[in-house]
C-alpha cells in the first residue's frame, strides 16, 4: 500500500533510492544535495538498506567509484550540486561511453563565484553534451518518481546509459511536500534487477574497459552513443506508460501541457518554478488572458518532435531560462536555441523569446510571470518579439 509522507526533495530521493535497492552509494557533502546522502547513510546504518556506502574524497572520486561499481554489475547512486558537478566532469564521458547506467542526483546550485547556495540549472546543463539522460523535477513527488523512472530507462538493454536526475536546490530539495511512497512490491513490478549483460567486470571472464583506439575509430565510438539516443524515446514512452499504470500517475513522457486548450501565449519551463507558473497561468486565465504552460521533463534526450508539435500550436512562447550560456547564439540561456532548432523546419512557428529568471536562486514570483505574459502578449500584437532575451526584474522599464 502506498503511504503519504511529507518529504523534502532530498528525503524523497533517498526513499526512491532505497526502494530501488541500490547496491553501491558514493557520497561527498555539498549543499544542497547532502541531505539525500544523510538520509541514505541513516538507512544503511539502521539496516533498512543493504548497500555499500562509500565516502568519496571528492566529487571526482564519487563518480570514479560508481563507475567501477557499475562496471562490476552494481546498481549505483551518487549525487552532487554546483561546483561539485563540474569537479567530476572528467568522469562523465567515460561512464556514458562505457554504457554504464550510473544514476546521479543533482540538486542544482549556482556555480561559483561566489558561494551562492541558490538554485540554478547551469551546473547540470553544462554537462548536457556528455551522453547522459537529464531531466528536472518540479516537486518532491516528481523527484521521487523520476529516480525510479530513470533507473528503468537507463538500465534497459536498448539504452544502457547513465542519468542525471535533477531538482532545484532548496526550492525542491529542501522545502517539504506531500509524496506518495509506494510499497516495495509495486516498485519491484516496475523496476527489474540490474542485468549488466556481457560487459561486466568478472574475474572468470576478464574484460578490458576503454582500451586505446585509433582516430579513425573515434567517430564510430561516438556514433554508437548517438544511435542509443535515437532509440531512447521509445523506451522512455514504454517506461512512463508502465509507471503511470502501476503507480496511478499521469505523467506525459516528454512535455506536459497545462491549460493549453485555446492558449495563445505559453511559458516553456522546466523545474521547480513550474509550480508557481501553474498558479500564474490560472490567475491569468481568470483575467481573460489566453495563457498556458508547457513543462519540459527531459532535456536529454531533447524531445525535438514533441516540442515542435506542441509549441507550433501557439502564437508566442516564452522560454523561462534558469541557466546561462554566455556568448551562446541567443546570448541568454540554454533552452531557447534548442527550442528554435526544434521549430525551425516546421511550416507554422510561434514567436519565441526567453526570460532569464530564477538565476542564482532568485525567486520567480507570480508578478514576474504576469510581466512575462505582458511581453508575450505585446509580441503577438506587434507580430514580432522585441528581444530574444529579457532579464526578469532588471529590465529598464
Amino acid at each position: 500500500m502506498a503511504k503519504e509522507m511529507t518529504l523534502s526533495g532530498c528525503a524523497a530521493t533517498a526513499q526512491a533510492v532505497k526502494l530501488a535497492k541500490v547496491d553501491v552509494i558514493c557520497s561527498y557533502p555539498i549543499r544542497p544535495y547532502t541531505a539525500a546522502m544523510m538520509e541514505l547513510a541513516k538507512m544503511v546504518a539502521e539496516g533498512e538498506l543493504d548497500a555499500e556506502f562509500i565516502h568519496g574524497e571528492g566529487e571526482h572520486a564519487q563518480l570514479s567509484v560508481v563507475y567501477g561499481a557499475s562496471a562490476a554489475g552494481a546498481r549505483t547512486f551518487t549525487g552532487s550540486s554546483g561546483v561539485g558537478v563540474t569537479y567530476a566532469m572528467e568522469v562523465y564521458s567515460p561512464i556514458s561511453g562505457a554504457r554504464l547506467p550510473v544514476q546521479m542526483m543533482i540538486a542544482d546550485r549556482a556555480l561559483d563565484p561566489p558561494g551562492d547556495f541558490g538554485s540554478e540549472h547551469t551546473d547540470a546543463m553544462s554537462c548536457r553534451d556528455q551522453g547522459w539522460l537529464m531531466g528536472w523535477a518540479e516537486s518532491p513527488q516528481e523527484a521521487f518518481d523520476n529516480h525510479l523512472i530513470n533507473y528503468r530507462i537507463g538500465e534497459d538493454r536498448r539504452v544502457m546509459l547513465p542519468q542525471f536526475v535533477c531538482q532545484d536546490g532548496y526550492f525542491v530539495s529542501h522545502i517539504p511536500g506531500k509524496v506518495l511512497v509506494p510499497d516495495q512490491g509495486q516498485v519491484d513490478e516496475f523496476l527489474p534487477p540490474y542485468d549488466p549483460g556481457s560487459h561486466v567486470l568478472d574475474p572468470k571472464k576478464p574484460m578490458s574497459h576503454g582500451p586505446q583506439i585509433r582516430p579513425d575509430q573515434g567517430t564510430i565510438m561516438d556514433l554508437q552513443r548517438a544511435q542509443a539516443f535515437l532509440d531512447l524515446p521509445a523506451v522512455v514512452k514504454e517506461a512512463i506508460d508502465d509507471f503511470n499504470r502501476i503507480f496511478k500517475r499521469s505523467y506525459a513522457p516528454f512535455v506536459e501541457e497545462f491549460m493549453t486548450d485555446g492558449a495563445e501565449i505559453v511559458f516553456f519551463i522546466m523545474g521547480g518554478h513550474a509550480a508557481t507558473a501553474r498558479h500564474a497561468v490560472r490567475h491569468l486565465r481568470e483575467q481573460g488572458v489566453k495563457a498556458g504552460m508547457v513543462k519540459l521533463r527531459f532535456v536529454r534526450p531533447f524531445p525535438t518532435r514533441e516540442v515542435g508539435e506542441v509549441l507550433s500550436r501557439f502564437k508566442a512562447v516564452g522560454v523561462v531560462e534558469t541557466s546561462t550560456s554566455y556568448g551562446g547564439s541567443m546570448r541568454g540561456g540554454n533552452l531557447l536555441p534548442e527550442v528554435r532548432a526544434a521549430l525551425y523546419a516546421l511550416p507554422r512557428r510561434p514567436l519565441t523569446t526567453s526570460f532569464m529568471a530564477g538565476l542564482g536562486g532568485d525567486v520567480v514570483s507570480l508578478k514576474d510571470f504576469y510581466w512575462m505574459a505582458g511581453i508575450l502578449a505585446g509580441a503577438v500584437q506587434a507580430g514580432k518579439v522585441g528581444k530574444t532575451v529579457y532579464w526578469t526584474g532588471l529590465e529598464r522599464a
Partner: protein
C-alpha cells in the same frame, strides 16, 4: 539597459575589500546568552583571557592597566571564564544588562 537595485548590486568579479580590524557586516554580539564579567581587583593581568578568546574580545588597555571587553563581538563562549587563573571572571545572564544591545535587523 538594466536597472539594478542598489541592495542587489555585486562588485566587479565579486571581489571586495577585506575587513581590517573588525568586520561590521558580521557583528556577533547577539550570539551570547551569558556575558563574562570581570572583577578588576582580583585580576593580575595574566592575559589568559586575551590569549584564549577566539574572537579577540579581551584587549589590554595599557594606559588603564586593565583588560577591556568587547561587547559588540563577544559570542559568550565563556572560554575566558574557564581559563581565568585568578577567579576574576564570572558569567552573568545577558538580559540582566540594559547595555550592550546589538539589535540587528537580520542575523548578518
Amino acid at each position: 539597459m538594466f536597472d539594478i537595485p542598489q541592495e542587489r548590486a555585486v562588485p566587479f568579479g565579486c571581489v571586495t575589500p577585506a575587513p581590517v580590524g573588525e568586520q561590521p557586516m558580521m557583528i556577533t554580539g547577539n550570539w551570547r546568552e551569558y556575558r563574562p564579567v570581570i572583577d578588576h581587583e582580583k585580576c593580575n593581568l595574566c592575559m589568559n583571557c586575551v590569549i584564549f578568546c577566539p574572537d579577540a574580545c579581551w584587549q589590554l588597555d595599557d594606559a588603564e592597566e586593565q583588560v577591556v571587553w568587547n561587547a559588540k563581538y563577544c559570542k559568550g563562549c565563556l572560554v575566558c571564564v574557564n581559563e581565568c587563573s585568578h577567579d576574576a571572571l564570572g558569567k552573568a545572564y545577558e538580559l540582566d544588562f540594559p547595555d550592550g544591545v546589538v539589535r540587528l535587523e537580520k542575523p548578518f
